[in-house]
């Protein structure tokens, strides 16, 4: 590091020693050549010079690896040679001063103590020489010869030690610097980031291992080359130059300027790097060190993360939308199953408001060419719902254009819905509700704060509107179908029970609590000409319109076959053929058909796959009529239908029902039947009361799980008094006669009396039917009472009195008078009353 350091190299010392010996030998030989004293012995001196040359040669040869003992030996040898030379030269006064050389070398070569040892050697050998010569000024010479090298040596030693210390420090500094440099290089080389230093001209002066890895150029290749050519992509080079110049020319130091740019690798590929560049001035020299980091991975991760975030956001949005859609869908599904249109729009409007975070939402539906507010959420409504014309107001414009519409700070006139306007809408968004290309309504949402819904809100609202429209459309279709089915079914069930003389009938139809669709349960009571009564209880598989229409066909068919006078088995056979051939194989129905003759209480029944009817007699145990079981209708083309007969004694009751009354989910049907049988036991007699009792006893409070149809008929026991109503139509006459004969038999009239009284009453009834004419549908009454042996019968109608025509009806009055003891006709403004009495005595009049 400094030239002085060489001075302390042992090889240098070795060579210096060689020069000393060579120079001494040469000097000795030179003195022999020059004129000199005779006392000088030439030969020994020449030999000594030769020895000195040998030592010089050895020292030079050994110099690179000369050892300390060799140095000591050489210096000591020098002292010995000088002493011998001194002896052979004789007493020359100056010669001892030559010891100064060996002493100087000793002080140069060794530490102070070793050097003084060599001085001692000099002192001893010269002292010995002087003692042998017995020289007069020996002490002076010795002091001179020893003192001079000691003093000079000490000075030299002092100087050299200073030099050595300085040299040592500088060597240490150099070592330290080297170490630091090595460490720095190590750090820089092990750094993941490339470390590059440029000089002011942009030439690379530093290039670490990471730079080698990163760019593919070795340090040797990179150093001294311009960075711009090496790792800057061509299109960025101008910018690089500009930046570097700007950096270099800036005053003072700049640290850690961060920049992101593209870099070029040796193989031509590129990557995104982040450079941290500084500028330092060291001794007027400008250096630009910089770190380059490959951020491809970081960017990728960042991108991945962003993509992930985007995806998460998208998913969240999708989920939100999906949830909303499924919410809507659920609502629509619910609407399809249960809800009325009113209920669904109410629900939807609330849901839409929630989804959009709107302050209010309104659904308008098209009604009679206008938009009528159908449901609102967040709006105070009073009075009749507002209506707007197409093209009028906000909703009207949406409906007219069939396009979404947005309005900011609309006026109350623009809104055209006073209740909505009262909220103080800042933003309005409206979308049309479309069904099959037609506007069926408008969905409007409102925000009361300055908070535009934006295209996203529009999208969501549009989506909601599609669902709402779909739901409303379905609800409408459903409601229409439901209404048709319901109407159909209602029309299929008897509006009121026919008045059956001597019989009491009641029926109930209870739709299932949870089902919105009407079921296929049905019943019918058919007055058969001749006075018999047909009772029908049936259950058609399926629900809704299809089931209802099949019930309609079955009902018509049963009535037709009943009116033809077919017995139950025959009627059911024909019915089965109808179901099998006409109504399609997929149709199946169970049916119970009972024909009762009230005259004698004979009941014939056929059971086509239905639950057995229950027969209750007075307070005794009720029995299920298990016989006459057959396959359901529509399962076989030509089954034979078994028919059974049972007598319905006066006071007996028969109960017909569908499975809804007795079946409970998870429970055996037998348990249901047992419950029915028990419920009938402690039930009231009157069929109406019995029906109510059975429903309350058997149908769960929350409603029947399935439709329930119930039909109860009681063969009323006869009493002294009776009353009955009949429709004012000729077909009622036979029923009336049947009842009357039963009663007269109860009154113990003779056959003849019964026939005559029946004929008389028939005349009165025929007149009553005649009075009602074509328009009247109010029934006529017949009241009978037995007082002792006298029967007192009144036939009362509410039609217009007509004077009896002479030929025909006139004969009726005549007959009555002839057949009864007394006949009293009282026409009033509201009808005519005919009272007839006759004493029963077993004979004809």
């Amino acid at each position: 590091v400094t030239p002085l350091s060489d001075l302390f190299e042992r090889s240098v010392k070795g060579r210096a020693l060689a020069y000393l010996f060579a120079a001494g030998a040469a000097l000795g030989l030179l003195t022999l050549v020059l004129p000199h004293d005779d006392s000088v012995k030439d030969l020994p001196l020449v030999i000594l010079a030769g020895v000195a040359f040998l030592v010089a040669g050895a020292a030079y040869w050994r110099a690179p690896r000369i050892t300390k003992p060799e140095l000591h030996a050489a210096v000591a040898l020098g002292t010995v040679i000088l002493t011998l030379a001194n002896y052979y030269v004789g007493s020359t006064a100056l010669f001892p001063l030559l010891y100064t050389w060996t002493a100087l070398y000793a002080f140069y070569f060794f530490d102070l103590r070793a050097a003084l040892a060599h001085v001692a050697l000099i002192a001893a050998s010269y002292g010995l020489l002087l003692a042998l010569a017995d020289h007069p000024s020996a002490v002076t010479r010795w002091l001179l010869a020893v003192g001079t090298p000691t003093i000079v040596g000490l000075l030299i030693s002092r100087l050299l030690s200073r030099l050595r210390a300085e040299n040592l420090a500088s060597v240490q500094r150099a070592d330290e610097l080297r170490e630091t440099e090595a460490r720095t290089r190590l750090v820089l080389d092990s750094a993941p980031d490339a470390f590059i230093t440029l000089d002011r001209d942009g030439l690379i002066v530093n290039w670490n291992a990471a730079a080698e890895r990163m760019f593919g150029w070795s340090t040797a290749e990179a150093i001294g080359r311009p960075m711009r050519a090496l790792i800057v992509p061509p299109e960025h080079r101008d910018r690089h130059d500009e930046r570097r110049r700007e950096l270099v020319e800036s005053t003072g130091n700049v640290t850690g300027r961060l920049m992101e740019t593209e870099f070029l690798r040796r193989n031509g590929s590129r990557f995104q790097g982040e450079a941290t560049v500084s500028k330092v001035e060291i001794g007027g020299e400008v250096m630009v060190p910089g770190f380059v980091r490959d951020i491809t991975e970081r960017l990728r991760r960042l991108e991945e993360r962003e993509a992930l975030l985007r995806e998460q956001a998208a998913r969240a949005e999708a989920e939100r939308v999906a949830e909303m859609v499924s919410g809507m869908q659920l609502l629509v599904d619910a609407a399809l199953a249960h809800r009325s249109l009113d209920a669904i729009v109410e629900d939807l409007v609330t849901r839409v408001r929630g989804v959009l975070g709107a302050d209010a939402a309104v659904i308008y539906l098209v009604e009679d060419g206008q938009l009528a507010m159908a449901a609102s959420s967040g709006v105070e409504r009073e009075g009749t719902p507002p209506r707007v014309e197409f093209g009028t107001g906000f909703a009207g414009q949406v409906a007219e254009s069939s396009e979404p519409l947005m309005a900011e700070q609309p006026s109350a006139e623009e809104i055209a819905d006073a209740d909505l306007a009262a909220l103080g809408c800042e933003s309005l968004l409206g979308v049309p509700l479309m069904a099959e290309g037609q506007v069926t309504g408008v969905l409007v949402v409102c925000a009361t704060e300055k908070r535009p819904f934006g295209p996203e809100g529009l999208g969501v609202l549009q989506l909601a509107a599609d669902r709402v429209a779909l739901g409303i459309d379905h609800a409408r279709v459903y409601e229409r179908e439901h209404r048709i089915a319901e109407t159909l079914q209602r029309s299929l069930l008897p509006e009121r029970m026919p008045q059956l003389p001597g019989l009491a009938v009641a029926a109930r139809y209870l739709p299932a609590a949870s089902e919105a669709e009407v079921g296929g349960d049905w019943y019918d009571v058919i007055p058969i000409p001749g006075g018999s009564i047909g009772l029908v209880m049936g259950d058609v598989a399926g629900k809704g319109l299809a089931a209802a229409s099949m019930v309609g066909q079955l009902r018509s068919a049963v009535r037709a076959y009943a009116l033809e006078g077919h017995g139950p088995a025959k009627a059911i056979e024909q019915l089965n053929r109808l179901v099998w051939t006409e109504l399609g194989e997929s149709q199946m129905a169970t049916l119970l058909y009972v024909v009762l003759d009230p005259a004698d209480g004979q009941a014939r029944w056929v059971n086509a796959g239905h639950l057995p009817p229950l027969l209750a007699v007075g307070d005794g145990p009720s029995v299920f009529l298990e016989g006459a079981r057959n396959v359901p209708l529509g399962v076989m083309p030509f089954p034979t239908f078994d028919e059974k007969t049972v007598t319905l004694e006066p006071g007996a009751t028969v109960v017909l029902y569908t499975d809804g009354l007795v079946e409970r989910p998870g429970d055996h049907i037998d348990n249901g039947l047992r419950r029915l049988s028990e419920a009938v036991r402690d039930a009231p007699d009157a069929p109406d009361d019995l029906c109510d009792h059975l429903l309350s006893a058997l149908v769960p409070e929350r409603g029947a799980p399935d439709d329930v149809a119930l039909l109860v008929l009681r063969n009323t026991p006869m009493a002294n008094h009776f009353s009955a109503e009949f429709p004012t139509e000729p077909q009622a006459l036979s029923s009336m006669r049947t009842l009357l004969r039963r009663w007269l038999r109860y009154a113990e009239g003779s056959d003849q009396e019964i026939a005559e009284i029946t004929t008389a009453c028939g005349e009165a009834a025929t007149n009553a039917i005649e009075h009602a004419g074509a328009t009247g549908d109010s029934p006529f009454e017949i009241l009978g009472s037995l007082e002792g042996r006298e029967v007192d019968i009144t036939v009362r109608d509410y039609g217009a009195w007509r004077e009896p025509r002479l030929d025909d009806q006139g004969r009726g009055i005549g007959l009555m008078s002839s057949l009864m003891d007394d006949v009293e006709v009282t026409p009033t403004h509201e009808g005519t009353s005919v009272r007839m009495t006759r004493k029963l005595n077993g004979t004809a009049l």
Binding site: P529, G530, G531, S532, G565, D597, A599, D600, E729, P730, Q731, L733, S734, R737, T738, Q752, A755, E756, T758, T759, G762, E763, T766, I769, D807, D808, Q809, R811, G812, G814, L815, S818, L819, A844
Partner: protein, 116 residues
């Protein structure tokens, strides 16, 4: 059971025989009268209405008979009726004095003889 009125038509030589069973009231009589009248061709000598199996008759059945009697009379055809003596149907026809309009017989052969 009270059977509604049923009509059976037959021919005995030049005489049409209409047998009515069941119970005849206003629900059947007017139509049945028209039907019977239609079934009697102008070529027929007469008509026998057989009520021997009829269980019930009221004034509308009576009106039907009177109507038939009028129609046949205008076509110069004869009408006779079969009823069982002492039964309700005969009693009603007696009360309305139907005998004045057409002869009544207790058996079919006598009625047929009367009508041809």
């Amino acid at each position: 059971v009270t059977d509604i009125a049923q009509l059976e038509l037959g021919e005995r030589g030049a005489v049409i025989v209409a047998t009515v069973t069941g119970e005849l009231d206003a629900s059947q009589a007017p139509l049945m009268g028209d039907q019977i009248a239609e079934e009697v061709p102008t070529s027929a000598k007469g008509l026998v209405v057989d009520f021997s199996s009829l269980e019930f008759i009221d004034s509308s059945g009576v009106a039907m008979l009177f109507g038939l009697a009028r129609k046949l009379g205008s076509r110069r055809q004869r009408l006779s009726v079969v009823v069982n003596d002492g039964e309700a149907v005969a009693r009603v026809l007696e009360i309305v004095d139907f005998g004045k309009a057409a002869p009544m017989h207790a058996d079919l052969d006598a009625a047929l003889a009367d009508a041809s």
